[in-house]
Amino acid sequence: MSVAVTIETIEKRFDNFPALRGVSLDIQPGELVALLGPSGSGKTTLLRLIAGLEEADRGRVLFGETDTRNLSLRDRRIGFVFQQYALFKTMNVAENIGFGLKSRPRHERPSNDEIRKRVRDLLELVQLPGLEKRYPSQLSGGQRQRVALARALAIEPRVLLLDEPFGALDAKVRKDLRAWLRELHGRTGHTTVFVTHDQEEALELADRVAILNEGRIEQVGSADDVYDHPATPFICEFLGEVNKLPVKVVGSQAFFGDRPVLGGLSQNQGGPASLYVRPQHLRIVDETPLALPGTVEHLRRNGPIRRAEVAVEGLKKRLEVDLASQVAPAIGERIRLRITHGNLFAAA
């Protein structure tokens, strides 16, 4: 049922605003892919293009071998879950879910009994049995989300597309639904693309994450790939937290000012660069040749993690440092920091 989706050099402008600038992406059959990016990055436009709700100025989208430019919305057979669900307010749950089947041309339309049975099965699947007669206004946010999903699944879509599927839900429901969606995807195996601006959601849920910025895909990869091996400075700053240090690379060492802070570099491009270091990759040490002296200015607790803000001479922004041990430094204490891991990008 599910097909591969191939996106070939898509370009799309709205008036004078370039929403997508040459986007290509291959999605495997049955894969769960997240489109992640800040608002205005073009992720929703890309999703709507795959759906056929927008038309590309250039480039094309293939479902398997089929060029979707020649397909009507009906023939595309996509299941689209809208951000605010777009459930039909004047229809009850059963009518909503059955809408797609009832919309088929007469000779393809299942009988009313079959539709009723299919609605019941789908409600079982989304764990809302017995809610056929309810109206959308009588459902909670999470329930509406599931009904919207059931409605999209009813037409046996070749591709499932979700626009900010958890955006309108509160944090607790969001976590539950995330796990549930992952499990549902495992069971039904639809090729699924979802849009989100929540990196945690993308990294946790998706097989692969495509990160968009200003109409381009900056990196595609598994959660580990994009988090541990960010391809661009943008991804470093967008995913998780990061400290940025302006450094100069000489030989195999990076210098902050005239002090070497990171060694063993394999890149042999010298010159000015930006070193990105995550808070958990800074360690307080006693004495080591590669260390960065600083003063602890602030301490706070961030859930399970204790965090210190360390002022370093010559750096405007304080460094965020995760404290590994239970013994925290005192405010005002002078400490030395060692960088255990960092990502280096040549300064533009």
Partner: protein, 296 residues
């Protein structure tokens, strides 16, 4: 941002009584309510009651005679006919205009919105005169119409044209803000589910806006039946032929047949009351929907 756990939502805002929150004293409230009630009584309810009292002044028989007299019946029939043509026409065109404005982006959209309001901003007399100027014997198209034996002004087509013009904004104005606030995602959802455009319209769009549509139709109909100015200009006031109810009432009144005039007027007033009751019922039951369409 870090992944800190959010503070629990249990910290509710302190509750305050709504009137206190607005900061008005009970005296101010009382004065405002009293002033508006007094105004309503004096300027709206009193005249309405007078209509019915005057209508009944000469007894039931006179009342019955006044409204069953042939000219009166002709006027009632004509009024119903004009409304029966003008209102459905404005429903169709109003929906089309609202759809165009709410669902598409195009150049000249703001101009179109302003044009929809034009009939409200122009005096009805002028609206009528425009049609006389266009289609009258001395008008631009007059000679051609005469040559082809077509009558528009001082005939039913003219009455319908004038009524359509004057009542056009009602449906469109109710629908546009409502449709705009709904957005297009319901329609898009229906399309992705494989529905044909007609099915989308009849099963999704129309049910979504049905109450504001009904509301608009109600107002449109009330105005279509009660319109005086524009219709007076194009009618020619031929008794039993081109006289609508409001025109008939005026003629009766000018001929010092007060009781008869008020008898026919009471029918129109009755229509207004029915409209009012339906409108109130609508607002009562579907106030949230209509309010949503008003908020913009």
């Amino acid at each position: 941002m870090s992944d800190a756990t959010l503070p629990s939502a249990a910290t509710a805002a302190p509750t305050r009584s709504p009137s206190r929150a607005r900061g008005e004293s009970p005296v101010v409230q009382f004065v405002l309510i009293a002033v508006s009630l007094a105004f309503l009584l004096l300027f709206l309810l009193l005249p309405l009651v007078t209509v019915f009292i005057e209508a009944a002044a000469k007894g039931w028989e006179a009342y019955r005679a006044a409204i069953t007299e042939p000219d009166a019946l002709a006027a009632i029939r004509l009024t119903l006919l004009v409304a029966a043509i003008a209102v459905p026409f404005n429903i169709v065109v109003g929906i089309a205009a609202a759809w165009a404005v709410a669902k598409f982006e195009f150049r000249g959209k703001n101009l179109l919105i302003s044009l929809i309001d034009l009939p409200f901003s122009v005096s009805p007399v002028i609206s009528g005169l425009v049609f006389v100027l266009l289609f009258g014997a001395q008008g631009y198209l007059g000679p051609w119409l005469q040559a082809n034996d077509l009558k528009i002004v001082f005939a039913l087509p003219g009455l319908i044209l004038a009524t359509v013009f004057v009542t056009f904004p009602f449906v469109a104005r109710e629908l546009i803000p409502h449709m705009q606030s709904l957005g297009s995602s319901d329609e898009e959802a229906a399309l992705t589910l494989g529905a044909s455009p007609w099915r989308v319209f009849f099963c999704v769009t129309l049910p979504n806006v049905k109450w504001s549509l009904f509301y608009g139709v109600l107002l449109c109909n009330a105005r279509a039946m009660g319109e005086f100015g524009a219709v007076a200009v194009v009618s020619g006031k031929i008794r039993g032929l081109t006289n609508t109810m409001p025109l008939h009432i005026e003629i009766l009144y000018n001929e010092y047949m007060g009781a008869a005039a008020f008898a026919v007027a009471s029918l129109l007033a009755g229509l207004a009351l029915i409209t009012l009751v339906l409108k109130t019922l609508l607002e009562w039951h579907y106030g949230d929907v209509i309010a949503a369409s008003r908020r913009h």
